[in-house]
């Protein structure tokens, strides 16, 4: 079975690499619509990552919410605002190089420190599989208060969005 494991791990690594590449495209492409498509790719890659973490439910939620809902919103917004594919317009401002340098520095440092640390692995959580039922229980029992709060927040945000987006005539 180790062959399968190798394959799976290889696939997973490929997925992450694709995701990163897509993310780079998101921040670098000139055509904002292509950026949106790349972002979709990123989100799918993240979903794959979730699957690799045995959080299938969560992966599906990711697709349903992000790809289904949020991305549609984003694309709509892109459509409603103009000059999408006008590649003559510079899409980055003047501080791109310096911030790139800074962030690269940061990443090097970050990766170094992450590798240096030794993570202790909790066997119990490794064994446990978290499916919809468990999550539901968690939401309804010990996280019920934040759950309610978050739903209120959501409603408020949506109402606000409607009021903001309403055209004036």
């Amino acid at each position: 079975m180790d062959v399968l494991h190798c394959l799976a791990r290889f696939g997973f690594i490929a997925a992450t690499l694709v995701t990163l590449a897509a993310a780079v495209m998101v921040v670098s492409l000139r055509n904002i619509f292509h950026c949106a498509l790349a972002l979709i790719l990123v989100l799918l890659g993240v979903a794959a990552t979730y699957i690799s973490l045995k959080a299938e439910f969560f992966a599906v939620i990711q697709i349903l919410l992000y790809v289904g809902a949020i991305m549609t919103l984003v694309i709509f917004a892109i459509m409603l605002t103009s000059k999408i594919a006008d590649t003559t317009v510079p899409q980055t401002n003047r501080q791109s190089l310096v911030s790139f340098a800074i962030l690269a520095m940061f990443d090097v440092f970050f990766i170094g420190s992450v590798i240096k640390t030794s993570w202790k692995v909790n066997a119990v959580t490794m064994a446990a599989n978290v499916d919809a039922k468990v999550l539901g229980m968690a939401f309804m029992n010990e996280y019920v208060f934040p759950f309610e709060i978050i739903s209120v927040v959501l409603i408020v945000a949506l109402v606000g969005a409607i009021i903001l987006g309403r055209s004036d005539q």
Binding site: Y50, V74, W119
Partner: protein, 104 residues
């Protein structure tokens, strides 16, 4: 896939995060910035889920909070895009460095 060490996920999310941050710092297009923010949020979520799987006290903890984060991201996207639209309607531009009324 228990073979993959947690540090791998952490690095992955860190890179994703910094890419998103780069986008936020650099993009002129407001929607671009919003998308970069989505990337950042996803990076954070990956961390949550990964840690909830590897080193958390309870297995579902991280996922619960990741779910909260997703909801917040959704509302942020909704409000943000609504703002973008109204700004575009009033100022006819969606480039951040042209929306500088606060300057003086």
């Amino acid at each position: 896939m228990s073979g993959i060490p947690v540090s791998y996920y952490v690095i992955f999310s860190g890179l994703l995060f910094s890419i998103g941050l780069y986008g936020v710092l650099v993009r002129r297009h407001v929607v671009g910035i919003l998308m970069s923010i989505e990337i950042i949020i996803n990076a954070a979520n990956i961390n949550l889920v990964a840690f909830s799987r590897y080193v958390a006290a309870k297995p579902e903890m991280g996922q619960v909070f990741a779910a909260f984060v997703i909801v917040l991201a959704a509302s942020a996207a909704a409000v943000g895009l609504a703002i973008v639209l109204s700004v575009y309607r009033n100022r006819r531009t969606i480039y951040t460095d042209e929306i500088n009324l606060l300057k003086w």
